[in-house]
Symmetry: C2
Subunit: 313 residues, 2 copies
Amino acid sequence: MTITVAVPDATMRDRLLGADPGVGNDVVLEVWTTDDPPLDHPVDLVVLPYSVSAAALPKLADSPVSVIQSQALGYDAVDRALPPGLVYCNAVGVHEGPTAELAVALILESQRGLDVVARAQPSGSWERGWYPGLLGRSVLIVGVGGVGEAVAARLEPFGVAISRVARTARDDARGSIHALADLPRLLGEADIVVLGIPLTPETSGLVDADFLGRMKGGALLVNVSRGAIVDTAALTASVASGAIRAAVDVVDPEPLPADHPLWTLPGVIITPHLGGQVASMASRIDPQVRRQIVRLRSGLPPLNIVVDTREPS
Amino acid sequence: MTITVAVPDATMRDRLLGADPGVGNDVVLEVWTTDDPPLDHPVDLVVLPYSVSAAALPKLADSPVSVIQSQALGYDAVDRALPPGLVYCNAVGVHEGPTAELAVALILESQRGLDVVARAQPSGSWERGWYPGLLGRSVLIVGVGGVGEAVAARLEPFGVAISRVARTARDDARGSIHALADLPRLLGEADIVVLGIPLTPETSGLVDADFLGRMKGGALLVNVSRGAIVDTAALTASVASGAIRAAVDVVDPEPLPADHPLWTLPGVIITPHLGGQVASMASRIDPQVRRQIVRLRSGLPPLNIVVDTREPS
């Protein structure tokens, strides 16, 4: 059975063709995105560009496609934007490690003052400030999914007290997980709060003025999930008052307008949605695409379906 | 037995007096440093200021003192500067955690481009660069002492391949340690090289043009130990040629002159010797001072003697 696969750029096509073992003679690889004219022939698997907007998804309705493979983990706007008749698979296992790595990097940058030092470096400043450090601090991780757990694993050897909170209380190999009902109390006890939850109708705006107001004085909020989980105006007000610090890789809206006050507030670190964006990403997304190809060629359903707009059979 | 203890500032004196349990009525605490006039009465224990230079040590000869407690871990220049008749104790256990924490922070800052992003932040730039990341990289740790091992422990959950090298090959709970003879080969295999060794006559200038020339193209050198382990001119030349990157908390000389080219080379991160300098330091140095007081009051020898200039008995 020959299958046809559209990948978003020649680089991915060449990587897949050059791999050993190759994708096989029964696989036709072509380069196509929704920015191109609609496809005039059926394509079994469409791999989307890494940073594609959900606004591009409706254009898939103009082409005879069936299975859509995203290169992203989050799929918050997909259910409203995906045309009927498709299945949409996300990229589980590709970004959790680098995203958690960035969360820890942002924690360390803020706790050790490295953003301040980096900006002073070009002037040759040997200004030895005192910063809070991470050793001995308490960290609250909100969410125990792939990213939250990868953050917990990385933080454990740093000599910190880790608390975790999720929708329902339970125990796992790492210890106890608190219920969401405990969040108000837990917020008052943590030096650092890390958001590791998907954006859903329930989590949209979860971090509002009340949430921020319950945080310890001088505590650090870290967001590597999705910007809209945090109310940007409330965050800006809270940091501007000196109540808390923030280190955010995601923000609402993205890009954050260049004249937004958050950019220049002391105690704020902003990175431009770099969570999963590392040079090694290809080494994790390519095997996922290859695995999907093998499954489709064998007549198996694809893995990691998160949105399905086909008729119920 | 009443003992007299000199501490370098009123802050430490007040912390020790306010602790529960207190230091005891049989302990006289006074504030004194070698910048003050010589002591006119015997003092049993002198706690040095945190960032004191070895150049201040000869002045101890003018005062009737016996046991010197440093707040630092390294003691590279002490044997040449300490007057006769004294014992000098270092601060084991105080700085290893924060110094290793800074090593990991510098690795993450460089691997994720956070220095570049921090400098672009005030202009509101949403420039999404691709950086190498840490996941999947190989790290060579030079030295398996307190700092080296604390770095290894912190790096383990990041999905990296860790190699370690020390003077002699051996195995420990973490795995195999390579001999120094393997260093040339190991340097060619590592994406990141971390120095976790004390400054001694053997390690002074260890990282010279030959060492740097054996590193992988684009690899990162991290120094949180002592500046003089690295030949600053060779490092500057190597980074300027684009061969390697560097993230250094210590440099030779300190402070690095404001007009030194290293400050502004792309791929270089410099922090001003902040390894152990965190707000929580008091919570670790105070118990050490208290432990020494208890021992001296009981007639026991002090702990962590690293230089002894008394007559051999």
